[in-house]
Symmetry: C2
Subunit: 335 residues, 2 copies
């Protein structure tokens, strides 16, 4: 069933009494076609319900008008209640819509997924590739770039790769947050760090370390992986090891949210006893109890900027090897 034989250029040409080439010109908006002929072709197209076969077109034009967004991350992780990935997707989507390109979303958590991604992109099914949420020193971006595929990374990867990237100012944001805590008299400032195989995790920890060290304060560190569960566990650890802490900087809002609850369960008042600052400024941050003071990163813009870079490379332009977007401390009630 299905597959009601679709009309081809040839069919339209016969119906309109012209050649295939002419139909092709009309369909692609060439201006060098006489008005009456153009009208006849348009009518034939409408009558037959002709739609160009994109595979055939790609074959000759060498373009697909679609861009891949690759997240080397299990789907589970990408779509937890973390707003970061959705935000990036949204930014990418906006920018592609403006450019009239299609978004091909590829989650590459498993090894099989990574294979698929590689086959698909190297198979020239997309005009460019945007990576997001790189772990460790992933060799895939550089490999694709070497094959001549336009590729950009949204959020820097580990190691030095020749792939252009867009990222936010992690260190700057964290520094402002920790300084704010210090200025408000906090002296036992702990941190719930993010995963240390990601630049975001590493740099946010660096920002914390440098700032407390500069103030002559001790380092109180526990590790999480940006999720709520890991944040709760890390907060419990911190409370056990450093019961006298008076502030916590969490490397993600989800971990901060969990810390808030864990602190309350432990009988600590926020911010009276312990001040809490997060990182991200996801929507939920305004609805926690108390509302969360946090470092806002321009997630949407991260996706948009990355996409613009890919499109520019695909168009043959050259782009800046790095683009850093600003972060900002958003004051609410938790610190």
């Amino acid at each position: 069933m299905t597959t009601a034989q679709r009309p081809t250029l040839e069919a339209v040409a016969r119906r309109a009494g012209v050649s295939r080439a002419t139909v092709s010109r009309v369909v692609n908006g060439s201006t060098t076609v006489a008005e009456p002929i153009r009208a006849a072709v348009h009518q034939a197209v409408a009558e037959l319900g002709y739609v160009p076969n994109l595979a055939a077109r790609s074959l000759v034009t060498q373009r697909t008008d679609s861009i891949a967004l690759i997240m080397p991350e299990a789907a589970t992780r990408v779509f937890s209640d973390d707003q970061v990935f959705p935000g990036i997707i949204r930014g990418v989507s906006q920018e592609l819509e403006a450019a009239d390109k299609q978004l091909v979303l590829m989650l590459a958590g498993s090894p099989a997924g990574r294979d698929r991604v590689e086959r698909y992109t190297t198979g020239r099914h997309v005009d460019g590739v945007l990576f997001a949420s790189l772990h460790g020193a992933d060799p895939l971006p550089a490999r694709l770039a070497r094959l001549g595929i336009p590729v950009v990374s949204s959020g820097r990867g580990l190691g030095d790769s020749p792939v252009p990237y867009v990222d936010v100012d992690h260190v700057g944001g964290v520094t402002r947050a920790v300084r704010y805590l210090i200025e408000n008299g906090r002296r036992r400032i702990a941190t719930i760090a993010g995963p240390q195989d990601m630049v975001a995790g590493i740099e946010r920890l660096t920002g914390y370390r440098d700032t407390v060290a500069a103030a002559g304060l001790p380092e109180l560190v526990a590790y999480g992986d940006f999720t709520r569960e890991s944040g709760a566990a890390a907060m419990r650890t911190l409370l056990t090891e450093h019961p006298d802490l008076d502030a916590v900087f969490a490397a993600s809002d989800l971990m901060a949210h969990a810390a808030l609850r864990t602190l309350r369960e432990a009988g600590r008042r926020v911010p009276a006893d312990v001040a809490v600052i997060g990182f991200d400024d996801i929507e939920t941050a305004a609805y926690t109890e108390p509302p969360l003071t946090t470092v806002r990163q321009p997630i949407l813009e991260l996706g948009r900027a990355g996409t613009r870079q890919v499109l520019r490379i695909a168009a043959g332009e050259t782009v800046e090897p790095a683009l850093i977007l600003p972060t900002e401390l958003v004051l609410r009630a938790s610190a």
Copy 2:
């Protein structure tokens, strides 16, 4: 730059000293190839870094090995902090990964976006289409189906369309929730209804209406659009119009979350003064203050089931016109 001329079947064939046909057989895993030749071809493929051109393959096979997920919804809406869309994407993604197909995500909020979607899908760039979050009586699914494109809707659309769908048991879930409130002595039960241009909004309201009516209780209704802001506004309206209400059923967890906060701001204790039940069971529900009692819908499974149906249709099988997944009342502290 870029475009380092990619090797073709032809090149591999020359290098291996065989014909194109043979290379094609090896690449596609045909068993009718002598072992030494197969080895030679594999080596040539590896040496040249050959990757099949997917457009060319599609052109002849009439398949693309990719499925489109269409959300007729502005990106802003899809990726707010609502967990529903991400959950569906995740389910679809899992199922497609298992089937070794690619996911093409299409947000079609704007009219231009809808055009793109139509061109792209009718252009045979995908083997099938899954719709999610239909508004009103969207004619697009039926139109695509008429063109012979395998299409399924995840979440039913309004009006009677011949398109197969997968949905959850909205009415059943809401009925259980409202009955639970009644059994616990609540008598002034209000609802914050969802958008009435969506089946999910309509049916959840219906479930509420039927259940309170059957118990001889009054209908106290305010409307929202599933978002937090709309939930807060609706809650304020309800408090003004029915200050004596003792329970609220909100048609989404986000609206329930906002209701929780609005009630607290109004000096009402939850659940002592007012019981609150939501719908969805997003992750945040377990972290609200107090933790939210809610109707869980199997979001992930909604995506997975829909995807399986599309794949089956694309494989030439016929599928059930409707598939209804169960919902479940999850008791926490808010009711």
